[in-house]
């Protein structure tokens, strides 16, 4: 005999009105709260990394090769207290921000051009294909000849380092904007700059943000490398020059303190500046999770 599902009676139920609900929100456990905090998770990871560093350096026992985490920290505090490190960091920051800002503006100009005409599009594609693979540092000798010793040369290579990745990301973001959203914008009669600023930019914002982050990282790499290779180009050097100087006098904990500063700035910018922008924009809009 074939098996059949058991017969069951039908039923209809009265609904409970919302104000009569007896279930309340289930509170989170302490562990949920701790684990749910991105800050706590990241702090934990950082502590683990510092622990590994400390353990391996102690095992080596040679601070000329790898100073321990605590030695680096001590050197870092000493240099911060003496005001030397903050001064160097400030010098680097100033140059970096100049290069970053100019690169960003140029990148936007080029991408807007690329979005408004086909020739502009070809120009951007060709230029990024040609220039993006070119290491910024390779342009520094030329920049020194053209612009002389000084900040201008470093800003020039920074602009090169920042501009192409941001332009490339922004452009691919613009191209990824859905056809529907484009039609909506044109339906309102938006054209040219207004169309780019009010529809394309926000719609492509996740990509633009990624470009900004990549550009930021490239800018740091280029800046430190430029300072390391070509030394101080103005009166007082930045962090790269600081690292180079201390390597020459074999003050390795100070070298690490310099690197540590770069890392710290990177962490702060990522977790406060970029995270804040993300929370206020793409996350709030449900475009990124």
């Amino acid at each position: 005999m074939r098996e059949s599902a058991p017969a069951r009676p039908d039923f209809v139920r009265e609904q409970v009105a919302e104000h009569d609900f007896s279930v309340v929100n289930k509170p989170l456990t302490a562990w949920d709260k701790v684990y749910g905090s991105g800050f706590v998770r990241k702090a934990f990871l950082l502590a683990v990394l510092a622990g590994i560093w400390q353990a391996y350096a102690s095992y080596l026992g040679n601070s000329l090769v790898l100073p321990t985490f605590t030695e680096t920290l001590q050197s870092f505090w000493k240099l911060v207290a003496s005001g030397d490190l903050p001064k160097r960091a400030l010098v680097s920051m100033k140059v970096l921000l100049q290069g970053y800002a100019i690169g960003l503006v140029l990148a936007l100009v080029v991408t807007v051009l690329a979005m408004t005409s086909r020739l502009g599009n070809d120009l951007l594609e060709t230029l990024t294909a040609m220039l993006n693979p070119l290491p910024a540092i390779a342009l520094l000798p030329l920049a020194l000849i053209w612009l002389g010793l000084g900040n201008a040369s470093i800003v020039f290579v920074l602009v090169h380092a920042v501009m192409w990745p941001i332009a490339l990301n922004t452009h691919s973001g613009f191209q990824g904007v859905s056809a529907t959203m484009r039609m909506v914008g044109r339906n309102y009669g938006l054209r040219g700059l207004a169309y780019v600023a009010k529809i394309l930019m926000p719609a492509a914002f996740p990509h633009i943000l990624a470009g900004l982050k990549i550009g930021w990282a490239f800018a740091w790499r280029t800046l430190i490398a430029a300072e390391l290779v070509f030394g101080t180009t103005s009166g007082s050097g930045g962090l790269g020059w600081f690292i180079y100087e201390n390597k020459n006098v074999l003050d390795i904990p100070a070298v690490f303190a310099g690197l540590f500063t770069v890392i710290l700035i990177g962490l702060v910018v990522e977790n406060f500046v970029f995270r804040l922008i993300e929370n206020r924009t793409v996350r709030r809009w449900g475009m990124q999770h």
Binding site: M183, G185, N187, Y188, W285, G286, M287
Partner: protein, 265 residues
């Protein structure tokens, strides 16, 4: 029958539309003509591939006919404009970085219709019409599909365009929501008597929503018939069948099946 006014609101005359894919030049419609009059609920109905969405986009001004003309109030349509508001099928037609209210207001402000306070008042009035007042400050990603479409409709209507263009606006909704949205649209029409050009591939939807239904045949789209509908879909004494059955037969008649068979052979 009442006299047809001399000047229709929208006149589509002998429109042939083509678009290019990578390999082919596709003819979407061939010499399609129809007239839409004020307060019409004009439905373009046909199977996929009959060019109805392409036709709607042409009325929207997104592509220009290779032959024939589209005239709105006697003026030829050449580019997109806020006098023809589109409501799309896709949920991503709302700008995700703006709240419900801002989405409706932005349309008014970007097109230069209204500014500031006046735009806000108009926006809220239409948001209330689609029963979303409670959600005016929500961002689109927190809304259900049906609610998103209601916002899109409110946005289109707030612009008070000459004609509202709807491209299968309810096709991505579940059956229950879809039915509800159709009733709501009819209610809105009773209130404001706007003119709408509505694209669908659903015969019941066409019969329920439209007062005029233009039947298109596929590959390429050509006019097959234009029928009136009273929305009730009862048995018509003159033909002896329901309107929906009549349309069904016209769209899927034996002749067509044979033609298709020949086509594929």
């Amino acid at each position: 029958m009442s006299a047809v006014p001399a000047q229709p609101l929208l006149r589509v005359e002998g429109v042939t539309l083509q678009y290019k894919t990578r390999e082919h030049l596709v003819t979407a419609t061939y010499r399609v003509s129809f007239d839409v009059h004020p307060a019409d609920r004009f439905v373009l109905l046909g199977p996929s591939g009959c060019g109805k969405s392409t036709l709607l986009k042409a009325v929207g001004g997104y592509l220009n006919p290779v032959e024939g003309t589209i005239r709105l109030k006697g003026v030829e349509v050449v580019k997109p404009g806020a006098d023809r508001m589109m409501v799309f099928q896709e949920f991503d037609q709302l700008l995700p970085w703006k709240t419900v209210k801002q989405n409706v207001m932005f349309a008014l402000e970007a097109s230069g219709r209204l500014k500031g306070k006046a735009a806000e008042e108009r926006a809220m009035a239409y948001i209330e019409k689609v029963n979303l007042t409670r959600f005016a400050d929500n961002l689109p990603h927190t809304l259900s599909g049906g609610m998103k479409q209601r916002v899109a409709i409110a946005r289109g209507m707030a612009m008070e365009p000459d004609i509202l263009l709807m491209d299968e606006p309810f096709a991505a909704l579940d059956a229950l929501t879809r039915r509800k949205m159709q009733d709501e649209l009819m209610q809105l029409w009773e209130d404001t008597r706007f003119t709408v050009l509505f694209v669908t591939h659903s015969i019941p939807e066409a019969v329920r929503i439209g007062n005029r239904i233009l039947l298109l045949s596929p590959h390429p789209g050509q006019v097959k018939a234009e029928l009136g509908s009273d929305g009730r879909d009862e048995v018509d004494p003159s033909t002896g069948v329901r309107l929906s059955d009549r349309i069904h037969r016209m769209l899927f008649s034996g002749q067509d099946v044979e033609e298709d068979a020949v086509h594929h052979a």
